[in-house]
Symmetry: D3
Subunit: 234 residues, 6 copies
C-alpha cells in the first residue's frame, strides 16, 4: 500500500522569488550549515540555478511508476524530488517526462538516481540534479508514497519545503524556517560584498577576519626554513 498526499502548505511564491539570487552555499551557511544533499548530486548541465517548492516522491529500485503519479501533484513553481527506496542508478527520467513537467510549470528535477536523454534535456533547458546519467530503462510495477517526508541524498525533505539548486549542488530549507533563513542569507550576501572588495584590494583574510592573535594563541609558529620547522616540532 502507498499514499499520495494531495494537500500541503508550500512556501509562498513571493517568498520563493526572493531566493532567486541566492546560491546554495549562501543558503546553506545562512541556516547554520544544514540541509545540503550529498555531493554526488550533480547538475546535468552548467550553469544552472533554480528555486522552488518540493513535491516528494519515493520510487522502487528500477521502477519509475510513481513519478507519473507525482507529476499530477505538481504545480507551477514546484521542483520534483525523487528518492529510490534503495540505492539505484537507473535512468528513471527522460525527455518525455521532462516535457510533461515543463508543461506543468515544474522548474527542475532532483533525483538520487539516474536520468537519461540528457542531450535533449539540455536542449530543452530543463535542469536536473542527479546521482548518475544512465540510459537503463525502468518498469512500472511497484507503488511508493508521494508527498510524505523523505530522505533524499542524506537530507530530510518535506513536501512544500524550499529547494535551492545550483552548480554547487542542492540544499533544502524547511518551510517553517524560510523567513529566518532569507534574512540571514541576505545579511550574509551584504557582508560578502564588502569583504569581496577588501580581498580584491589585496587585504588578507588574516586581517579581514582578525585571525592572527588566535592563531598565535593556538600555537602557530612562523619559521624561515624547513630545518627550523623540524626543530620546533613536538
Amino acid at each position: 500500500m502507498a499514499v499520495v498526499v494531495t494537500k500541503f502548505d508550500r512556501v509562498k511564491p513571493s517568498l520563493v522569488a526572493q531566493f532567486a539570487a541566492l546560491g546554495v552555499a549562501t543558503v546553506h551557511e545562512a541556516q547554520g550549515r544544514i540541509g545540503l544533499l550529498a555531493a554526488h548530486m550533480r547538475p546535468i548541465f552548467r550553469p544552472a540555478h533554480v528555486v522552488g517548492t518540493a513535491v516528494t516522491c519515493e520510487v522502487a529500485p528500477g521502477d519509475n511508476w510513481m513519478i507519473h503519479v507525482a507529476v499530477e501533484q505538481c504545480q507551477a513553481g514546484d521542483i520534483l524530488v525523487v528518492t529510490p527506496t534503495s540505492p539505484c542508478q537507473d535512468g528513471y527520467f527522460g525527455d518525455l517526462l521532462a516535457e510533461s513537467l515543463q508543461a506543468q510549470g515544474v522548474r527542475a528535477l532532483i533525483i538520487d538516481a539516474g536520468v537519461r536523454d540528457i542531450a535533449a534535456l539540455t536542449q530543452m533547458g530543463f535542469p536536473v540534479w542527479s546521482k548518475a546519467v544512465y540510459a537503463q530503462g525502468t518498469v512500472k510495477e511497484t507503488l511508493g508514497n508521494v508527498n510524505l517526508p523523505i530522505v533524499c541524498a542524506g537530507a530530510l525533505i518535506h513536501p512544500g519545503d524550499l529547494i535551492v539548486a545550483d552548480d554547487d549542488g542542492v540544499v533544502v530549507v524547511s518551510r517553517t524556517q524560510v523567513d529566518t533563513v532569507l534574512q540571514m542569507a541576505n545579511a550574509r550576501e551584504a557582508g560578502e560584498a564588502e569583504k569581496r572588495a577588501r580581498f580584491a584590494a589585496g587585504e588578507l583574510g588574516l586581517d579581514v577576519y582578525n585571525m592572527r592573535e588566535r592563531l598565535a594563541a593556538k600555537g602557530l609558529k612562523y619559521v624561515e626554513s624547513l630545518e627550523d620547522a623540524s626543530s620546533c616540532k613536538p
Copy 2:
C-alpha cells in the same frame, strides 16, 4: 599467446547509417533493455553521438600495446572498443593514437579505462567514452587478443556488433539483431513523437498511459493530509 582475428562480419554501413538519428536510450529500450555499458562510461565532451561497428581489443593493466595492433584491424566506420583484463584507469590513449584512428576513418573510442590529452581530443572532435581521465602513461610489454568477443564495462561485445554512443552512455546491439532492433527503435521513436505532443499540451502520463485503474488496484490511496496518510499506513 594471443590472437588477432582479421576477418569477421560487420553490420553493413547502410544499416549502421539508419541508426544515426537514434539515441542510446531508444536503442536500449528497443532491444528489450539489454546491452548497456556501465554508467561509469562517460563522454569526454558533450554533446557527442556516434554509431559504428565494433573492433574489440583486450589490454593488460597499464599496457596499451595492443591498441596499436587493433588500429590496423580498423576500417572506416568502425568504433574501437577496448577493455583491460583487470580494472585500470591509466591513460591508455591520447592525441597521437586519435590522429591515427581518425586517419583510418574510425569514429570513436570506447574504453573501460583512462584516456589523456582530452583537450586535444576535444579540439580534434574525436569522441571518447571512458571510465576515467588520467594522464598516467602505459607500457608496451604484454599481448592481448584483438577481435575476440569481450566483456567491456559489463556488456558482452562481439567484433562487428553495432555500437551506439551519446551523452547518456554506450549501448551495443548484436550484429544478428540489428534489423529487428532498428524496426523496434523506429517504431518507438514514432510513438514518442505523438506522446511528446500530448505531454506538451499538458496531458498527464497517468492518462496517456492509462495508469489510474492499475494504481488503484495495487492499493494506491489519495489522502488530503499527512495525518490521514499515517492513519492508513499498515
Copy 3:
C-alpha cells in the same frame, strides 16, 4: 602546534614560463612517469591549463582556517596546493578566497577536497582542480602546517616545486629536476610533431614504432576467424 615556513626556493619564473605550452601528460612522461596526482583531481571548468610554483597547506577535515594563513605566503605565480589530514570533501574554498588569491597573483588552487561557488569561480576564470564540488561549509579551529612537504592526492609535493595542471589532471615536478624535465619534455614534443604527421598520413603505430617483430616474438598470431582463434588457444 603547527608551523609556517616563510622562505623556500621556488622554481624561477623564467623557467616556469617555459612549461606554459606543455601539457600534463607530456611532463609526466618526460620525468619518467612519476608525479601525477590521483585521477579524482578534476578541473571545475574546461579547458584550463596553468603552470606555477607550489605553496603547500595542510588542513584539518572540515576546517579551512589554514588556507587563510597560506594565502599570505603566496606570491604572484604561485599555485596553492591544499591537502586535508584525513579524507574530506567539504567545500573549503569559494569565491571570496578566490578573489583574495587572484589579488595576490596566485594562478590556481589544487585541493584534495571540495570547493564551492564554482559558478562564480568559472566566471572569474580562477581555475581549481579538486576532488569534489560541495557547498558544505567549514570551521576555523584547528592548525595545520604551511609549506612543509605534503602528500596531496597520492603525490609528494614540496613548496617551490613546479605544478602543471590541465584538463587531464595535475602533475608535480620536483624543483631539483625542472631543468632536466624541461629538456626531455621539449624533446618529446618535438618527436610527437613528427609522429603526428605520420599518423595523419595514415601510417600505423605498428610501423612508426617498429613493433611487428617484437609482437611476433612474444607470440602474437593472426588468424582469419574466431574458430581459428579457438584452435590456437592454449
Copy 4:
C-alpha cells in the same frame, strides 16, 4: 550554538526485550521495508545482535567532542547513534569511550564514520556498526546537537526510537510504530518457520508461494535449449 535535549520518551524496556530474538531483515520487512541504514554500515565483529533505544548525536567532521556530551545522556539499554555533519571516516571512537559506554549500560554504537581500537572493542564484546575502521584521531572544537532527530546513513532516527542491529546491518523502528511492528514481525517469524520446514522437505518456492500461474501470465516461457530461447525472443 547547539542543543542537548535531556528528556524524551524511549520505547519501554519490556517492549524492547521482545525484539531480542528478531533480526534486522524480519523487522525491516515487518514495518513495510523501511528504516534500513545504508549497506556500508557493517559490524566490527560477527556474530553480533543488539536491540536498544536510540540516543542521537551529531558530530563535526574529524571532531568527536559531542560523543562525550552524548554519553551523559545515555541510560542502560540505550544505543548511541552518531552521524557526522558531512561525510567522514575518521576514528571517532575507541576503547576508552567504549569503556565509558559499557559502564553506563549502553549496548552498542552505530556510527556513520570510522572507529578504532577494534581489537580491544572485540575483546570487550562491545558491538559497533560503522562505515569504516580507521585509526585517525579527532579534535574537540565544534559543537553539535544531541537528541535531535538525525539522518544517519540515510535513515531518519529520533531519540528514543528502537534500533535493531545484527550481522545484516541496522534498522530503526519509530517509537510510535513499535507495537504494530512487533506484532507483524512475530507473525512473519511464525509464517517463516512453517515455510522453512516445507523448503527443507524439498518443496519449491514456486509452489509454496503459488507463483506458476502469474509467471505464465506475465509471459515466462520454458524452452529446452538455447536455440529455442533465441527464436522466441522479441
Copy 5:
C-alpha cells in the same frame, strides 16, 4: 517476455570433483588468467571453498522473483549464479531460499548484488559470494531469463560452466575448456609444491625463476645509497 532454458550440458560430476582441491588463483592461472569475477565478490564467511556447475539467473533490480524460478532448474552439485540487469545491492536472498537450495543439493550462491540473513546462512554452512550484505527486501514483479548466458561481475558465464569459489573470490571455467584447464591446473600445483620447498629453504625467486640476467638487461641497477640512486636516475 523471458525464457527458462530447461536443458543444457553440465560439466560431468566426476570432472567437477577433480577440481575440489584446486583454488581460484590456480584455476585462473591455469586457463590463461581469464574468467575471474570482479574483486567485489566476497564470501559471507571464511574459509569457504566450493566447486559446482552453473545455473544462471537474471533478476530485475530490487526483484528476486526469478530466483524462485531458477531453484527448480537446479540439480544436486549446481551453483546458482545470479546477476541483476542493472547494479543493485538489495538483499535478494536469505535463509529460506538457502534452505530451499540446500534441499535441492545446490552448493552455493554467487550473486552480484546483496544477501541477508548471513548469520543464519553462516550457521547453516551455506556459502554465498556477493557484492553486498544488505537486509533490503525485494519484490516479485518482473521476469528475467534463466539459463541464458550472462555477464556476472564482469565475467561471461554459460549454464553448465564450472564455477570455483574460495576465499579469494570466484572464477568460471567454460564447459568446453574444463579438461584442458584441469590438466594445466594440476601441472601448476605440482610445480608449486617443488617451488614452495625451495622458497621454504631460503632460496630466492630471483634464482628459482632465474630472473637476474633479464632484470639487468632491462636496466636494473643496484646502488649502495639513496644519493647514488639519484645520480643514476634519468
Copy 6:
C-alpha cells in the same frame, strides 16, 4: 631504468621491540596524528599485530616482478611495503611469495593493491594488509625502484622506517622520530590506563577531561524537550 638501494639505516631491533605492545592508534596519536595509511588498507585476518622496519618496493600495475627483487633486500624483522605506480587491485602476492618472505624472517606485507591465496596465508599466519583480495595474476615485465622513498596509500615511507600494523590499519614512524614517538606513546598508554579505570567506574569524559565549562562557553544549551530546542535555534 630503475634502482635498488642495498644499504640504508633501519630502526634498531631493540627499539622496534619496544613498540610490540603499542597499537596503531596510540602510535598515530603519539606522533601528532600523522603517518596513517588510508582506511582501505585492511588485514586479511584478525587479530593481527606486527611491528618491523620497512623495505619499500614500487611495482607497475599488474606486474609483480619487483617483489622478487625486493625479497632479496629484506632482513629478518623487516616488513615489505609495496605500492603500485598507478592504482591496481590485482593479486600481486600469494602463498609462494609468503613462503619466501617467511623464510627470510620478514614479518608482514603491506600492499596498496590486491593479494591472493588468503586462505593459505591465514593458515601460515603470515599477516598482510592490502587494498583488495583478488586472484588476478600479474606479469613480470616492468622495472620499478626498490628502497627509494615511496607514497603508499597516501603515506610517505622511507626504507628503514618503523611500521606498526594492527586490526585498525597501518602507521609509519619516521626512523628519525622513533625515539621521541616511543616516549610519547608510552606516556600516552600510561595515561590511558588511569582513565580507563575512571571510565569503568562510571565517571564521564565530561568530567575526566573537564569539558563542561568550555562547552558552555562555546554555546551548548541543555533543554528538556525538542520544542525547547527549536525555540533556541538561531
